[in-house]
């Protein structure tokens, strides 16, 4: 185990105090194992093997057209931001080397913090409603060696500020990509955050998003997970001000031997906050999905409204989902619910479509899309929703020939 960490941390633990501290914590705890509750269903053994053997190099992908027309694009290549410091339209976009200490405890965060080359900082000042979307594109290839490329992202919204942030992850080859995002919302701020995880099929994607929601703020996060051989998307959100609202939506489609893990922890720290969380996934072949949804309602957090739902469709004979809700409620005047369903395609629906002339493969695709599209309904911008659905449909239509 320790030699794996040596490979991972080689040459990276000589940085500043924040990086050093993260590297030390990581050395102390080691890479997560399935003996730990949070990692019970997601084994990092494939990552260890990859670190020891290295992988296939790929070609650096081209910068894609933005998902929303006219978006301000910031490109991060192999962990290094190419965006120069800029003041665009009243906002600040900056690529800085120094990292901030994250208050929550997460192995993924420690890996990213120890190894990140820098952080992209986006600041929207108080009172500013940004109509232009900001799109951060993370591009990766296999060139950086086994330790991979890691980058941070900090998004700070002042009081009454409003913005749309799009995060995209693309790559080619076998690599490890680590991402740490920190979102801070001031009083009455609004952030729509769309993440599209479209990594190469041979990639490892480890991401941690922390969010702090101030009074009456609203954070809507949507994640579409399609790529990676092993991808873990963690969200740690804390609702710190009364009236704060959190919406977490997730859609994922796995095939081949992919493992797609969504782990979220929502901390209702004060009274009168609400969270609404829905994740839906389809898993074909031998793909595996993991959903862990933690909700903590602190003792003083009366009138909390928290709802969580996880649904999965298993399309392959060896496909598997592990779903674990974890509600810890210490207040007594709260509304909290959770639900999970796992199923196969409905044979009656399938026959109904086929009896109307729709060929079986097309009928299956239609039903799978219908299952996932509920999540996309949560995206208000029609153009964006249409483009994300196009990407989903293309992914569902792709065969497994390229699986690495």
């Amino acid at each position: 185990m320790s030699d794996v960490l040596d490979i991972l941390l080689a040459g990276h633990d000589r940085g500043d105090a924040v990086r050093k501290a993260a590297a030390e914590r990581l050395r102390g705890r080691g890479l997560p194992t399935t003996r730990q509750e949070d990692w019970k269903f997601t084994s990092l053994r494939p990552l260890e093997k990859f670190l020891q053997s290295g992988g296939r190099e790929g070609a650096m992908p081209a910068v894609p057209a933005p998902l929303v027309d006219g978006a301000l694009q910031i490109v991060v290549r192999n962990g290094r931001a190419e965006a120069p410091a800029a003041h665009v339209n009243g906002i600040t976009v900056d690529a800085r080397p120094e990292l901030a200490e994250e208050p929550h405890d997460s192995a993924v965060q420690d890996i990213v913090t120890a190894l990140a080359k820098g952080v992209v900082v986006i600041e929207i000042p108080r009172g500013k409603t940004l109509t232009q979307a900001i799109e951060v594109v993370f591009l990766s290839d296999g060139a950086a060696g086994a330790a991979g490329h890691h980058a941070g992202l900090r998004v700070l919204l002042g009081e009454n500020a409003e913005a749309t942030l799009i995060e995209r992850h693309l790559g080619d080859g076998d690599y490890l990509a680590g991402h740490g995002a920190a979102v801070r919302l001031g009083r009455n701020a609004r952030l729509r955050h769309i993440k599209v995880q479209d990594e190469a099929r041979g990639a490892f994607h480890l991401a941690d998003t922390s969010a702090e929601l101030g009074r009456d703020s609203r954070y809507e996060r949507f994640v579409l997970s399609l790529g990676g051989r092993l991808a873990r998307d963690e969200v740690h959100a804390i609702l710190m001000g009364e009236g704060a609202e959190l919406r977490l939506l997730g859609a994922y489609a796995g095939r081949g031997e992919q493992l797609l893990d969504h782990t979220t922890r929502i901390d209702h720290a004060v009274p009168r906050t609400s969270s609404h969380e829905v994740y839906k996934g389809v898993l074909g072949d031998s793909a595996r999905g993991v959903f862990q949804g933690g909700i903590l309602v602190r003792k003083d957090a009366q009138k909390t409204d928290g709802h969580q739902l996880n649904k999965a469709l298993l399309l392959g004979p060896k496909a598997e989902i592990d779903s674990k809700p974890a509600l810890e409620i210490f207040a007594d005047d709260v509304k909290c619910s959770h639900g999970a369903t796992v199923g196969e395609l409905d044979a009656d629906q399938l026959f109904y479509l086929r009896a109307r002339g729709v060929p079986e493969a097309e009928a299956r695709a239609l039903l799978v899309q219908a299952f996932l599209e509920e999540i996309f309904d949560g995206i208000a911008d029609e153009t964006l929703r249409g483009r994300l659905l196009e990407r989903l449909h293309a992914a569902l239509g792709e065969g497994d020939a390229n699986h690495g």
């Binding site: 629906q349 026959f351 086929r354 009896a355 109307r356 002339g357 079986e360 239609l366 219908a370 509920e374």
Partner: protein
């Protein structure tokens, strides 16, 4: 047009149809009546190709083609339409999307050009109007939250849109009040033509007041116990199924 010979069908290893012989020519409307459990729906599903309805003997040909060798979608492309007794709900798929997918899937299989969005909308509006279906209903997911009558009208709308060569209607009258029955029957009658065959499966005579059949068959215990003209339906209504060697209707 449709020719069924000595058809035997099992469901879960249990024989349900025990030798059906039936022939429906183009332009004819035949009715199949029978008590519950006689095998009426089994006949419909076996002809449409539903999984789990295993044909153990006999044949069914459509315009000379072996229907039993075809996938359900191929049977639909050949021109067979099954109107379901219990149309399923499909959350997440708008009725319009479903109709368009279906119309164009059939056109593709027949090497015809797909309908453009405009042509499709024109067609669907025209057919929906005839059947008294509001456009708002077409935007809702397929059959989700539809009343029994709305579901059946939706079936007839699909039939009108797809213009099949042969209509197989499985207890289209179930769950309909008298007004809805009239609308559905009018929709079916509008599709009667010298080129089209129809097989109407029903439990009660009342549908046949509106859709007058050329021939009536009584299905009992997996076999056709008696065939006759439309007066047979009236006779059944009067004497009950027991007179034809069938169990009393449930």
């Amino acid at each position: 047009m449709l020719k069924i010979e000595n058809l035997h069908v099992e469901v879960d290893g249990k024989p349900i149809l025990k030798g059906i012989d039936l022939e429906v020519a183009a332009g004819e409307v035949h009715a199949i009546m029978g008590p519950n459990g006689a095998g009426k729906s089994t006949l419909a599903y076996a002809l449409a190709g539903r999984e789990g309805y295993e044909v153990t003997a006999g044949s069914a040909t459509f315009e000379g083609r072996d229907m039993l060798a075809m996938e359900p979608e191929e049977r639909a492309a050949a021109g067979l339409f099954l109107g379901f007794q219990y149309p399923v709900e499909i959350p997440g798929v708008a009725t319009l999307t479903f109709l368009k997918t279906s119309v164009n899937a059939l056109r593709r299989q027949r090497d015809e050009e797909e309908l453009s969005a405009l042509e499709f909308m024109k067609l669907v509006r025209e057919k929906a109007k005839d059947l008294d279906i509001a456009e708002a209903m077409l935007k809702r997911p397929v059959n989700v939250g539809f009343s029994g009558g709305e579901k059946k009208r939706n079936e007839i709308l699909q039939m009108a849109m797809l213009a099949p060569k042969f209509c197989l209607l499985d207890e289209t009258d179930s769950g309909l009040d008298i007004d809805a029955l009239k609308i559905v029957a009018d929709g079916v009658n509008a599709l009667r033509s010298p080129e089209r065959g129809m097989l109407v499966i029903t439990h009660y005579q009342r549908l046949l007041d509106h859709i007058v059949p050329d021939r009536v068959h009584v299905l009992a215990d997996g076999r056709i116990a008696k065939s006759g003209d439309k007066s047979l339906a009236l006779e059944l209504e009067e004497k009950g199924y027991a007179a034809f060697g069938a169990e009393k209707a449930a």
